[in-house]
């Protein structure tokens, strides 16, 4: 046979890759389409690029951007806390706690967010005052006027956070249920309390399952905040609308808002990637596990070869 070498010699692979004309053609068409799209967008004078650039860092736009960030972060944080609470209640042995949690997720997932936002904004029509005191008509300690407390911002926060909590509850519940029951048993055998088991063992592992959909929820929330424009929430879209009602630059203002939404979601996606990596600790995928076994481990000291300390027991005849 030609090319045959002595045993043990290296046999490098330098193969010629096959030509794929169909793929080349497809790529060419796609590239042409993208160039055409960019061309039409850039040369289109109706888009008013100068206006877009001018308003991109406008003080009002940046103010709306800041409100959008605040609404997103706060409603996700409150939503996550509500979600964990509802999920833990859902997994409780007590039927009343389970039922309360089920009622919560059922109602807030069952009604449109838009309706909830308008409802919270107008809650003063149903409950003109809020008070802390003895319920069922007892004495009141402190009392507020609903119209003073319910600003567009607080109404938006209430609507977004409570609605988000209902979705997060399902995500957290799925995460908790994904943890092997043996983990709980091992932790309980060490004498951990229920709370310690949850905090130290179950939730950190559930996070692996919880984080990716939560990242999606966060990115989705960045854009969902735009719904708040129906109650004039002063976030990015509301501000953009206010400006175009004055200068009639409807499309330009929507492009300005969209650019900022894309920037925010891009940053959030990068952040999600790093958070996911953090919670992947200990969960080695096979490929990297094999790689780690082949190469030295990320440790200071070198790995000695494992040797069995004791000889195996002599087999006794039975």
């Amino acid at each position: 046979m030609t090319g045959e070498k002595a045993a043990g010699a290296e046999l490098p692979i330098e193969a010629v890759r096959p030509v794929r004309p169909g793929r080349w053609l497809g790529a060419a068409v796609a590239l042409l389409f993208l160039v055409w799209l960019a061309y039409t967008v850039i040369v289109n004078e109706n888009l008013h690029w100068d206006v877009i650039v001018a308003y991109l860092t406008d003080g009002r736009i940046l103010g709306g951007l800041w409100v959008t960030i605040q609404l997103t972060v706060l409603s996700m944080a409150i939503g996550l806390a509500l979600g964990v609470l509802a999920a833990v209640m859902q997994l409780s042995d007590n039927p009343v706690l389970r039922g309360t949690s089920a009622l919560y997720t059922w109602f807030f997932r069952g009604t449109p967010l838009l309706v909830q936002l308008i409802f919270w904004f107008n809650i003063g029509l149903v409950f003109p005052t809020f008070a802390i005191g003895v319920p069922f008509g007892g004495p009141k300690l402190i009392e507020w006027q609903a119209n003073a407390v319910i600003t567009p911002f607080t109404a938006a926060l209430l609507g977004l956070a409570i609605n988000e909590g209902a979705y997060m509850a399902e995500i957290v519940r799925a995460g908790i249920r994904s943890v092997d029951p043996g983990q709980r048993e091992a932790a309980e055998s060490l004498g951990m309390s229920h709370r310690q088991v949850l905090r130290r063992v179950v939730l950190p592992q559930a996070m692996r399952v919880i984080i990716p959909p939560t990242g999606n929820q966060f990115i989705s929330m960045l854009k969902t905040t735009s719904m708040v424009s129906v109650i004039a929430g002063a976030e990015l879209l509301t501000v953009a609308q206010r400006i175009y009602l004055g200068n009639f630059e409807v499309i330009a203002m929507l492009v300005v808002a969209s650019i900022w939404y894309v920037v925010l979601t891009t940053i959030a996606s990068v952040g999600q990637h790093f958070v996911e990596k953090r919670f992947e600790r200990g969960h080695v995928r096979l490929s990297s596990r094999v790689r780690r076994n082949l190469s030295p481990l990320p440790s200071k000291e070198p790995l000695p070869v494992e040797s069995s300390k004791e000889p195996p027991l002599p087999k006794e005849p039975s």
Binding site: G182, Q183, A186, S189, R200, F279, G282, E306, L313
Partner: protein, 257 residues
């Protein structure tokens, strides 16, 4: 009865059912302090359930279990039994180590963090002291150099040895082993049994559910054969294995050996 001659584990008339299936049909068993009791039997005989009842991972339907003189799971006051509160049960479990068939190491923590977890979280030991103690324990199970590895980076035998170290970190007075070598590749079984043999030599009280008849013969002080929810035969492992009296045990030994 003083602490010296009181058995570490006293099991009396224990019954347990899962739905319509009665898996324990009146079990009586004593494990004297410092002894190793090996529980053998076919799968479904109730041996694992019995072990899980001792540290109350499973509740029992009737009977009593005392560990170290303490009634497990209940307090007896004014002639009535009161179910213990969760934190009181947790306190009882601290003194009982448990090793599982499938290890159940915490995958998000390294080997040494697994061993430190109990002392730091439950006993409030300082991190530095827990780390020192964990390093000693890893050394004792022959894994001094594997502390920074995650469980997924360890072999089954190594994981099980870390799991034993994790239990020992709580300084238990009783160790329960639920088929500790059944999930291991054959060549990894001996390294785990070696650690258990060392542990028995230190005078640890152990209840071991196992299929390793050689281990039972060599290390066990008592052999208990269970079948269909009852203890069929018990006694000195060497005598029982050499001359089983019951036909069911003879048939079982014929299958496992």
């Amino acid at each position: 009865m003083n602490a010296q001659d009181q058995p570490m584990v006293r099991i009396r008339s224990v019954r347990k059912r899962f739905g319509s299936l009665e898996v324990l049909k009146g079990i009586d068993l004593d494990v004297p302090a410092g002894e190793v009791v090996c529980v053998v039997g076919p799968s479904g005989s109730g041996k694992s359930t019995l072990l899980r009842c001792v540290n109350r991972l499973e509740s029992i339907d009737s009977g009593r279990i005392w560990v170290n003189g303490e009634l497990m799971g209940y307090a007896e006051r004014d002639g009535r039994l009161h179910t213990l509160r969760p934190h009181e049960l947790s306190r009882q479990r601290r003194g009982i180590g448990m090793v599982f068939q499938r290890f159940h190491l915490f995958p998000h923590r390294t080997a040494i963090e697994n061993v430190m977890e109990g002392p730091v979280t439950v006993l409030r030991t300082s991190t530095a002291q827990a780390r020192r103690q964990a390093q000693e324990l890893l050394d004792r199970v022959g894994l001094a150099d594997r502390g920074h590895h995650y469980p997924a980076q360890l072999s089954g035998g190594q994981q099980q040895r870390v799991a034993i170290a994790r239990s020992l970190a709580m300084r238990p007075s009783l160790m329960l082993f639920d088929e500790p070598t059944s999930a291991l590749d054959p060549e990894l079984v001996q390294e785990v049994l070696a650690v258990m043999r060392d542990l028995a030599a230190t005078g640890m009280t152990m209840m071991v559910v196992t299929h390793e008849m050689n281990f039972a013969r060599e290390v066990g002080d008592q052999l208990v054969f269970m079948d269909d929810g009852v203890i069929v035969e018990r006694g000195d492992p060497r005598e029982v294995l050499a001359a089983p009296r019951h036909e069911r045990l003879r048939a079982f030994l014929g299958q496992v050996q």
